[in-house]
C-alpha cells in the first residue's frame, strides 16, 4: 500500500464522489422525479374527471328534485299541446270566444288523423293542423277575437288574415291558422 498514498486516496475518493453525484443527479433523481411527475399528472387528470362527474351527479340530483317539483304543479308541460282526442276543447274555446264577442264563426279545414298530418318543425313530435275560420260581425269585436286568440293558453298561429266589409258593424274576417297536436 506504499504506492497507494494519501494523495492517491484523495484522488480516488474525489473521483468516487464525482461519479456518485453524477449518477444521482443524472440518473436516479430524474427517474424518481419522472415517476412522481407522471403520478401527479395522472392524479390531476383523475381529479378533473372527478370534479366533472361530481358536477354531473349534482346536476342529476338537481334534475330529480326539479322533476319532483314539476310533478307537483297543476299545469304540466305535456298540457302545453293537446292530443287529438282533446282538440275538441280547443275548438270549443274558439267557439266560446266567438260567442263572447257576438260573432258568427265557421271553422273549416280540420280533417285527417294526427299520424297522417305533416309534422311541425319542432323538437317534440307535433302535428301541424291547418284550419280556417270565418267570422261575421262587428269590426271591433272581430279585432278583440283576434287579440284573444293570440293570447290563448294553447298555441294557435295565425298564418293569414283578411278582412272584408260591408260596413263597420258587419265585417267578414277570414283567418288561416294552425293547431299543434302531440303525435
Amino acid at each position: 500500500m506504499k504506492n497507494f498514498s494519501a494523495k492517491n486516496k484523495i484522488a480516488v475518493t474525489a473521483l468516487a464522489w464525482l461519479i456518485l453525484t453524477a449518477a444521482m443527479f443524472l440518473y436516479f433523481f430524474p427517474i424518481m422525479d419522472g415517476k412522481n411527475q407522471a403520478a401527479l399528472d395522472g392524479m390531476a387528470q383523475d381529479r378533473k374527471n372527478l370534479v366533472l362527474l361530481q358536477a354531473q351527479d349534482k346536476s342529476f340530483k338537481q334534475a330529480q328534485a326539479d322533476l319532483r317539483e314539476l310533478a307537483a304543479k297543476t299545469s304540466q308541460p305535456e298540457d302545453f299541446f293537446s292530443k287529438d282526442i282533446a282538440l275538441v276543447n280547443e275548438i270549443k274555446t274558439l267557439e266560446g270566444l266567438a260567442a263572447k264577442y257576438n260573432l258568427k264563426m265557421s271553422l273549416s279545414g280540420v280533417s285527417g288523423t294526427v299520424g297522417a298530418l305533416p309534422p311541425a318543425s319542432t323538437a317534440t313530435p307535433l302535428a301541424e293542423i291547418p284550419y280556417g275560420i270565418t267570422l261575421n260581425g262587428d269590426f271591433y269585436q272581430a279585432v278583440n277575437f283576434i287579440e284573444s286568440m293570440e293570447n290563448l293558453a294553447f298555441v294557435t298561429n295565425i298564418t293569414g288574415l283578411s278582412i272584408g266589409s260591408a260596413d263597420k258593424s258587419n265585417v267578414t274576417v277570414s283567418l288561416n291558422a294552425n293547431f299543434y297536436l302531440r303525435k
Partner: protein
C-alpha cells in the same frame, strides 16, 4: 511558544494529505447521507402519490357507476323531453306575429267617409294590401298621407296612379309593409 515539526518534509506532506482525506471522507459520507435522504423523500412522495391516485381513481369509478345508472339516463331523457316541450311552446308562441296590433294600428288611419272593403295581410312578406271605395279623390290622398306618416307602424306604401284618376267614387288600393316591431 513556537512548535517545530521535526518530521521529514515528505512525512509532513503525507500527514497533510491524510487530514484532507479525512475531511473528504466526512464530506463523502455527508453527501451519501443527503442523497439517501433525498432519494427516500422522493420514494416516500411517490408512494404517497400512488396511494392518493388509487383513492381518486376509486372515487371516479364509484361516481361513474352512479352517473351511468339507468335511472339517470331516464332522468336525462325526461328532462330533455320537458325542455323540448317548453322551448317548442315558447318558440311557437313567440314566433306568432300579433296581427291584432296591425289592425289596431291601421284602424284610425282611414279618414271619415272613406270605406275599406278588404284588408289582407301577407304574413310571409309582412305586407298589407287594402282596397276600398272613396267618395272623393282627396280622401284617398289623405289616407295615403296618413299611412305614410305612421312610420312607427308602416312603411313602403305604394302609390298606384289609378287611385287619383277619378275625382269622385274612387275605387282605390294600396300595399304597404308592416314594421317588424309592430308584430312582436
Amino acid at each position: 511558544m513556537k512548535t517545530i515539526n521535526l518530521l521529514p518534509k515528505a512525512r509532513q506532506e503525507e500527514l497533510r494529505f491524510e487530514t484532507i482525506l479525512r475531511s473528504l471522507w466526512a464530506f463523502l459520507t455527508l453527501t451519501l447521507a443527503s442523497f439517501a435522504l433525498v432519494f427516500l423523500a422522493q420514494f416516500g412522495a411517490g408512494f404517497y402519490l400512488q396511494f392518493q391516485a388509487k383513492a381518486v381513481k376509486s372515487s371516479v369509478a364509484d361516481l361513474q357507476l352512479q352517473v351511468n345508472k339507468q335511472q339517470n339516463t331516464d332522468i336525462k331523457s325526461q328532462i330533455t323531453a320537458v325542455n323540448n316541450l317548453i322551448s317548442d311552446y315558447n318558440n311557437l308562441a313567440n314566433n306568432s306575429p300579433k296581427w291584432s296590433k296591425v289592425i289596431k294600428a291601421f284602424a284610425p288611419l282611414p279618414p271619415s267617409g272613406l270605406k275599406i272593403n278588404t284588408f289582407n295581410i301577407d304574413p310571409v312578406n309582412k305586407t298589407v294590401a287594402i282596397t276600398g271605395l272613396s267618395p272623393a279623390r282627396d280622401l284617398v290622398i289623405q289616407l295615403y298621407n296618413n299611412i305614410l306618416q305612421d312610420r312607427a307602424d308602416f312603411s313602403n306604401i305604394d302609390y298606384p296612379l289609378e287611385n287619383v284618376v277619378s275625382p269622385v267614387n274612387v275605387n282605390f288600393h294600396f300595399t304597404f309593409s308592416i314594421q317588424n316591431k309592430l308584430l312582436q
